[in-house]
């Protein structure tokens, strides 16, 4: 099982992502309702991949990633951002911050698991 830490402030989107990833049977999921919760739980969960919403209140996805990267145990964990802003320059800026992929919103729940696996090149 691939351990995935998912940070998303919208509860409906969290539920859809949980259902979508649960269907694939490949993931153990920890969901966090905001960036701070993700920071607080990341070390204990030891994720294999981070799935971070970009625009979250108080702490954005990139800010979460910047904090987690300072932890040696989490510095190499692949990160995937989810965002509604998908202009090429915006996408490139997110990749430049260390993400392995950017998934556009609205995402397709049927292919979400495959999209993540493709980003991880599993």
């Amino acid at each position: 099982m691939i351990k995935i830490l998912h940070a998303e402030n919208d509860p409906d989107i969290r539920e859809i992502a949980e259902l979508a990833l649960g269907m694939s049977g490949q993931f153990e999921i920890l969901q966090c309702a905001d960036g701070q919760m993700a920071v607080d739980h990341a070390a204990g969960f030891a994720p294999d991949v981070l799935l971070l919403d970009v625009m979250m209140p108080n702490m954005t996805g990139p800010e979460v990633l910047a904090i987690l990267r300072k932890d040696p145990a989490l510095s190499d964990v692949p990160a995937i951002f989810m965002t509604a802003r998908v202009q090429s320059v915006e996408k490139q800026a997110l990749l430049d911050q260390g993400a392995v992929a950017v998934i556009a919103k609205p995402f397709d729940p049927i292919t979400l698991a495959d999209d993540i696996m493709a980003a991880l090149k599993v």
Binding site: R85, Q87, V89, D108
Partner: protein
Amino acid sequence: MPTDFSTVAALGISAQNYFFGPSLLLDTLPDPVIGLAANRNTIIYMNAAARALFDAGDVGTRTLTSIPFETGKDALKAALARQHTHRSEAHVSFAGQLYCIESQRCGPCDEAPYLLILRNRPAGSSGLSDDFVATVSHELRTPLTSVKGALGLALSGASGPITDQTRKLLDIAHRNVGRLMLLVNDILDLEKMSSGNMSFDMVPTDLRTVIDAACEANTDFAKGYGVNVSCDVPDHPAMALLDADRMHQVMTNLISNACKFSHKGGTISIVLTTLGNGSHKIQVSDKGIGIPADALETIFERFNQAGSIHRNRSGSTGLGLAIVKTIVEAHDGSISLSSTQDRGTTVTITLSGVAPGSEGK
């Protein structure tokens, strides 16, 4: 506040009676305003903002063609040429800044002058700021993500079997939320472009790669309409300075339009040719239902009448061609459309070429 075009037009028409003399009122406006003679070239008036922008102490004998716009000259000329009393828009760049020029003839008679307002809306100044667009984008897309995702999962059977009748209803909802999503994306794209907040990553690029990629990406879409796609590109590189993502968006838009309005079993033809002057011509043609002659004049306007006729049939947003035109003009290119009802439609784009040796993608 952005300058209201109608107010300026009223000032131009009634207060000055076709004569743009010194005007304190127009001089207070933040946006540059230019008055043109009926020949659409001789400048007869500049307000203070325009004089400052173009470093013009007085208007003198200046002409519009003498202003060294870096891009968009042809688009502006075309906008002025095709308009009568309709308001028209064109995008130009000057001193590294993108402007949307609104223009309109100030009256019904042939002698009436033309009025041009240059809109420059950097983030935070006027119009919708980049932050505002980003926030709206996020706030609109978040609930749509949930609705689209939930419907998609229900249709996939993730929540258990569904009856055929329920599937039909969910299909309708899923299809229409997709349509709403497209509309949101198109509105935001147009706003970003017209306010100058859309960035273009201009790089010397071989147009063949863009066209090939767009054809390949839309093959399945075309199959869904029972339409074939034929792509004809030259053997030699066709280099142009362009934003490949945006030009891909242009081609996707044109191909999808051609699919929607083609007859089943028809073929869409995409042809790229390099002209003698080094520029490149892209033609996207179909032999579909065509467009009524009286709708052609406004075909590139937002929510145009022809679009409204076909929108229900096609699921179009009514903004696609306006976006295409804006992107093409931002590339200093030109676009035209010819169509005969029940015979088909051809859209032609012309882009300036760059030397084949240019570093490209």
